[in-house]
Amino acid sequence: MFKIVKREEMAEGTVILNEIEAPLIAEKAKPGQFVILKATETGERIPLTMAMTDPVKGTITIIYMVVGKGTAVFRDLVVGDTYQDVIGPLGKPTHLEKVGKVVCVGGGTGIAVLHPITRALKEVGNHVIAIIGARSKDLLILEDHMQAASHELHVCTDDGSYGRKGFVTEALRDVLENEKIQLVVAIGPVPMMKFLSQLTKEYNVKTIVSLNPIMVDGTGMCGGCRVTVGGLTKFACVDGPEFDGHQVDYDELMLRLQAYCEDEKKCYEDYCVLSA
């Protein structure tokens, strides 16, 4: 059993933070790695990135967007409740190296995934420019954390309710126009990563993305998480989740993410009716 020691709503009802006791995992986890959690006996196994870890306290922190039944069940847990199962750390850690100037771009809850990577890239000596975006002001998370983890922070919202109006891709284009960038790390919704990778390709800047296909075991045993990268099939849970953004088949990933759409929708609606 894995106890929740802290809970915050970063955006009301939709973006939730849980700090969970998981000492073995906290000790091992590196930036870029994820865990799989299952709340109850009948629950689904849900992959989430560790946004923060505290090896001293023995805790890990996850930040997630409520999108379906699985994450809605998580949302309804309070401090003192437990997750029945937490498995990890899974996936390959981020490759950390001093390369010079790096731009870290995060969209939506992707910012949670991006934050520990941003901090680590700064710690190894890179100059880090961060660009974060959300649909609107109330959905923007971790602004303070990202400020601290980077040298320079740009904020965008789709509706202009905060920061610059528009998509993160536009802010990135300005940066690429004006500065010589060695690496871009982009994490967010699949369409954002797709368009952003097209943009950095124009400027010939190496780009790393973190993919989020549907997973079951997270240990390379089911192949459910397969993605096409550079024409080859990869298992995101063990070969990734980070890949060369210029090589990823995003359209296939988007289709595969819809695999259970109808079932999931029904399951979520039933849960919302029950818990209303």
């Binding site: 009948t42 498995i87 240990t219 045993m221 192949g223 096409t228 289709l255 999931e264």
Partner: protein, 470 residues
């Protein structure tokens, strides 16, 4: 009465009652219902108690087959199960899943006349009887040695090692990556063939004996083998199975609606997706399902698809019926459940619609040519035989490979060209000091009983090591 029938040569094998095919093909309850004590004694009485029993030569763990059968015949079921346990710690499982026709029953003297003793059924009976009527009494344990052993993987191989070493007085911890113990017995083999309750009872039994079962620990990630030694474990057994799904590597294989059998069966069994939405994990429900491959895994997938409401389920296999590797009983059950067999058929490409979902396959008709390295006749494509096969769900069950997650994060192990761990077949010792391995991660996907046999040998060797040194 029983005495008399035993002497007549033509007494037929006692059939085990089963759910009717048209009923069971839509439910997940176990198919064979088990013998009553009367039926078991009737079948046991057919055994002619050979002086040189052929049957035993076919059992990889040397079960005293005439011995336990005699005890059943005499009605001493408690003694029968004790006899079985001496060689086989999971008789309720083996009685259900061993490929008896090529093992014990295949070598029974009565097999020549086509009516071997139903050894598997009797083994299952003795174990089920004990579960329902037994005292749950624990076997005696030797004095604690204070030595700690780590077992990685809770499949039949790891569980055997744990059971053998705990009674010898060692402290045993089993580490399992999944959230439930049992390995393939829990995530792979479906409920209708092996009720999960049986596996959990077996694990519960080991826990009552003192074995610690630590789930949610992915060795190689959560903790490494070398760290286990640092934590004070003196011996490590690797029984992580062959958990890497093989795909066909043909175009279109990443379309939605194409799953590895591992994924499909894990969703159905471990995650209980057949009870969606009571359980949250979904599973694709195809109307027109194809299953590629013809082993046990393929039969399990096909029969699961039927139970999930398919209208049509087809096994597509590139060789002929004679080469199908599944247990005879599974093939027979599948046929009874209206699974169709598309033999000598090789898919070359998957076809998708505009939403990226699979709608069919392009196939080639095959014919059998010269024998290959495995001694089986090699299938060769017939020129110009292309044809299309419609489907809305395809399950790939063409075998499994070695999962590299643990082996590549552990220094000092030697692997063969396919990534399986090299271990001494007599002892299970690997090239790394203090580390043993066995089961599917050494042999490639094999059988439950072979994985258990390897576990038993390794347990003996580990015990020697803890007593006398490497």
């Amino acid at each position: 009465m029983a005495e008399k029938t035993a002497k007549k040569k033509s007494v037929p094998r006692t059939l085990m009652p089963e759910q009717e095919p048209e009923v069971r093909m839509r439910n997940f309850d176990e198919v064979p219902l088990g013998y009553t004590p009367e039926l078991a004694q009737q079948e046991a009485a057919r055994c002619i108690q050979c002086k040189k029993p052929g049957c035993m030569a076919g059992c990889p763990v040397d079960v005293d087959i005439p011995g336990f059968i005699k005890l059943i015949k005499e009605g001493d079921f408690k003694a029968a199960i004790r006899n079985l346990w001496a060689k086989n710690s999971l008789p309720a499982v083996c009685g259900r899943v061993c490929p008896q026709e090529i093992q014990c029953e295949g070598l029974c003297v009565l097999a020549k006349k086509g009516e071997p003793i139903a050894i598997g059924n009797l083994e299952r009976f003795a174990a089920d009887y004990e579960r329902d009527h037994g005292t749950g009494e624990l076997p005696p344990k030797l004095t604690p040695t204070g030595k700690k052993v780590a077992v990685i993987g809770s499949g039949p191989s790891g569980l055997t090692v744990a059971g053998d070493l705990i009674v010898k007085g060692h402290e045993v911890t089993v580490f399992e990556a999944f959230h439930k113990p049992g390995g393939v017995l829990v995530y792979g083999i479906p409920e209708f063939r092996l009720p999960k309750e049986i596996v959990f009872q077996e694990v519960g039994f080991l826990e009552r004996l003192g074995v610690k079962v630590d789930c949610n620990v992915v060795v190689g990630r959560t903790v490494s083998v070398d760290e286990l030694f640092e934590q004070g474990f003196e011996a490590v057994y690797i029984g992580v199975g062959a958990g890497l799904p093989r795909f066909l590597n043909i175009p279109g294989e990443n379309l939605v609606g194409i799953l590895s059998a591992n994924e499909y069966l894990t969703r159905a069994n471990l995650m209980k997706a057949y009870r969606f939405p009571d359980y949250d994990t979904p599973i694709p429900k195809g109307k027109n399902v194809v299953v590629l491959g013809a082993g046990n895994v393929a039969m399990d997938s096909a029969r699961t698809a039927m139970r999930l409401g398919a209208e049509k389920v087809r096994i597509v296999y590139r060789r002929s019926r004679a080469e199908m590797p599944a247990r005879e009983a599974e093939i027979h059950h599948a046929e009874e459940e209206e699974i169709e067999f598309f033999l000598l058929t090789n898919p070359t490409k998957f076809i998708g619609n505009e939403r990226g979902r699979v709608i069919g396959m392009e196939c080639l008709q095959m014919e059998l040519g010269e024998p290959d390295e495995s001694g089986r006749r090699r299938p060769v494509a017939v020129d110009g035989s292309e044809f299309n096969l419609d489907c809305d769900l395809a399950i790939i069950a063409v075998g499994a490979g070695a999962n590299p997650l643990l082996t590549q994060s552990t220094e000092g192990l030697h692997l063969n060209q396919w990534g399986y761990v090299l271990a001494d077949p007599a002892t299970g010792k690997t090239y790394k000091k203090g580390v043993w391995a066995g089961g599917d991660i050494v042999t490639g996907q094999a059988t439950v009983i072979l994985a258990m046999g390897a576990g038993r040998k390794a347990a003996d060797s580990i015990h020697d090591y803890l007593t006398y040194g490497w």
